[in-house]
Amino acid sequence: MAAANGAGRILAGGTDLLVQMRAGVVAPGAIVDVKRIAEMTTIVEELGGFRIGAAVSAAVIGEHERLAQAWPGVVEAVNLIGSKQVQGRASAGGNLCNASPAADSGPALVAAGAMLTIQGPKGRRDLPVEKLHAGPGRTTLEPGELIVSIVLPPRPARSGDAYLRLIPRTEMDIAVVGCGVSLAFEGDVCTSARVGLGAVAPTVLLVGDAASALIGSRLEPDAIARAAAACRAACRPIDDKRGTIAYRTKIAGVLLARATAIAAQRARSH
């Protein structure tokens, strides 16, 4: 990568890079295939959580039973990326680095509190996933840096997550809005919450105010309404062919309520 002097590109699943090359958007001076690096292509259980290699395909993530049990929302989100053919190659690390604000993996990983392990010329560092995106198609990675793995924390009893997106079709589309929610309970009381929103701002959002509205509540209608309002307030969307500013803003609140209900249901049976 250093020899390519800024013109090098990392190749994981290739489902974005090859399309960009074909469209003439990028013409890499060097392509570095990272799929022969073991730690980038394996899922390991570590300290009660999971370390997912950044180049592990969506299909392999979907087939990992214990991961799907602990983090069903994350696994669902990653398995909404493209078709079965695309899922055979596309990776969560690549989906994050492509930095589309509408990427499905983003809100679910933000809600999960995922931490990225990043390797660069100056060594390794950790970065919370919500700090990765700088804008559409741009990340905060320094030249020469790459994501090695994505770390999901341990799951306590009575915790659950969910990801929902709105698309006009049933499959193979890009999110108009995406919402990830992760909750933990003691008894009926929500003791921790994280909410991620996608496709409503230049970057994926961590919505702290929505989480605050849920924490300490029993998810009464009033708490859900306040969390939904916080989601709407956090939106800074654009008008485009997929949806208007008003529609995206409204849907952000709707998806918050629905994803929260699913995450809570999962927490009860976890």
Partner: protein, 160 residues
């Protein structure tokens, strides 16, 4: 740019080629190896006409570089029939007329086989979702879905 030497297995046969680093696996299959069954529809992973398997995993050959598959095993539409003996999916597609122009058919067959290899008894919904990445502009999909379900039912019958 210098070419890259690749050793792979295609439809069970060891094969070697030299490829341009920017060429896709689809370019290599069609233009260098003469395996023109895999079609180029969109070239961007949307249509599924170039569906192949890599080490048993379904993917689009247009989204893979030829240089990426060194040491791997590729399955294409040309590997479905055993000599003159069509694969049950191919026979059923002919019998039930689950194709019209035929451009999407090789990709649909490769994808459907990958589904049945994994899940020999899929529901209609599972078949429809699995084949969502294979676009067809002729059939309206229904005959394709029926044919795949029919093959699954035949397999169940035979296994009994």
């Amino acid at each position: 740019m210098s070419k890259i030497h690749v050793s792979a297995v295609v439809n069970g046969e060891p094969i070697e080629y030299l490829c341009d680093p920017a060429h896709t696996l689809l370019d290599v299959l069609r233009d260098q190896l003469g395996l023109t069954g895999s079609k180029e529809g969109c070239g961007s992973g949307d249509c599924g006409a170039c569906s192949v398997t890599i080490d048993g995993r379904l993917t689009c050959a247009c989204l893979v570089l030829g240089a990426e598959v060194d040491g791997m095993s590729i399955g294409t539409i040309e590997g479905l029939a055993q000599g003159d003996q069509l694969h049950p999916l191919q026979k059923k597609f002919v019998e039930m007329a689950a194709l019209q122009c035929g451009v999407c058919t090789p990709g649909v067959l490769v994808a459907a086989k990958a589904l049945l290899d994994r899940n020999p008894d899929p529901s209609e919904t599972e078949v429809r979702y699995w084949l969502a990445g294979n676009l067809c502009r002729c059939t309206g999909y229904d005959k394709i879905i029926r044919a795949v379900l029919d093959v699954a039912a035949d397999m169940k019958e035979t296994a009994r």
